[in-house]
């Protein structure tokens, strides 16, 4: 799934490892989500959204709505 995770992370100056630590997941997971190889579960998507204080749809692009702006 297309998402803005990499951009949001970079805006805060976090490495993948930093984000992984905050989300309590592996760096591998963060990399897989950022590159669109893995779609997180709804609970993890909510944790990500809460961490960035954004609604889920501001981070993850609905597959039916096409590319991220």
């Amino acid at each position: 799934m297309i998402n803005r995770l990499k951009v949001l992370r970079a805006e805060r100056g976090w490495s993948q490892g930093d984000l992984a630590e905050r989300l309590e997941v592996s760096r591998q997971s963060v990399n897989a989500i950022e590159t669109g190889r893995y779609d997180p579960s709804l609970p993890l998507a909510f944790r990500i959204a809460e961490l960035f204080a954004l609604p889920i749809e501001a981070i993850f692009v609905s597959p039916s709505k096409g590319d991220a702006a």
Partner: protein
């Protein structure tokens, strides 16, 4: 590819090692036990089944490992490894069955199938790791 160890991995190893020691001890002891006790009927069945219990428990522990993994992506990768191992073992068992039936291949005991699953997990791990490395480049 490095990552922090999930506590579930350590819990799995802690459960499996003593269980496999019991399994190996039973494998060694069973022929002597049967020769000594000379059981028949249900007693023989029960004694013959003894090594099946610890080996079956390892598969149960594997299920627990999947459930206890905190990281859902790592869980997906572990399940992928197990599915690859299961696929390889099932294909090999199918092929060997036909070889036994039609090509006089030597008979293998059925418990070779679950035992072969463990090294096949290694093949699964190699495939998953290679695919992860390629994707993370």
């Amino acid at each position: 590819m490095t990552r922090d160890r999930d506590p579930a991995e350590l819990a799995y190893v802690r459960r499996v090692i003593p269980t496999m020691i019991v399994y190996l001890a039973l494998i060694v002891a069973l022929p002597f036990l049967i020769a000594w006790l000379r059981p028949t009927g249900p007693a023989l069945w029960l004694i013959a089944l003894l090594p099946a219990f610890p080996l079956s428990m390892v598969f149960w522990f594997y299920g627990q490992f999947f459930v206890e993994l905190r990281d859902e992506y790592i869980r997906l990768l572990e399940i992928r490894k197990a599915l690859i191992a299961t696929g390889i073992v099932m294909m090999a068992a199918t092929a060997w069955g036909f070889l036994e039936t039609y090509a006089a291949a030597p008979h293998l005991p059925l418990f070779a199938v679950p035992l072969a699953w463990f090294p096949c997990q290694g093949i699964g791990a190699l495939i998953v790791t290679a695919s992860e490395r390629r994707a993370m480049r």
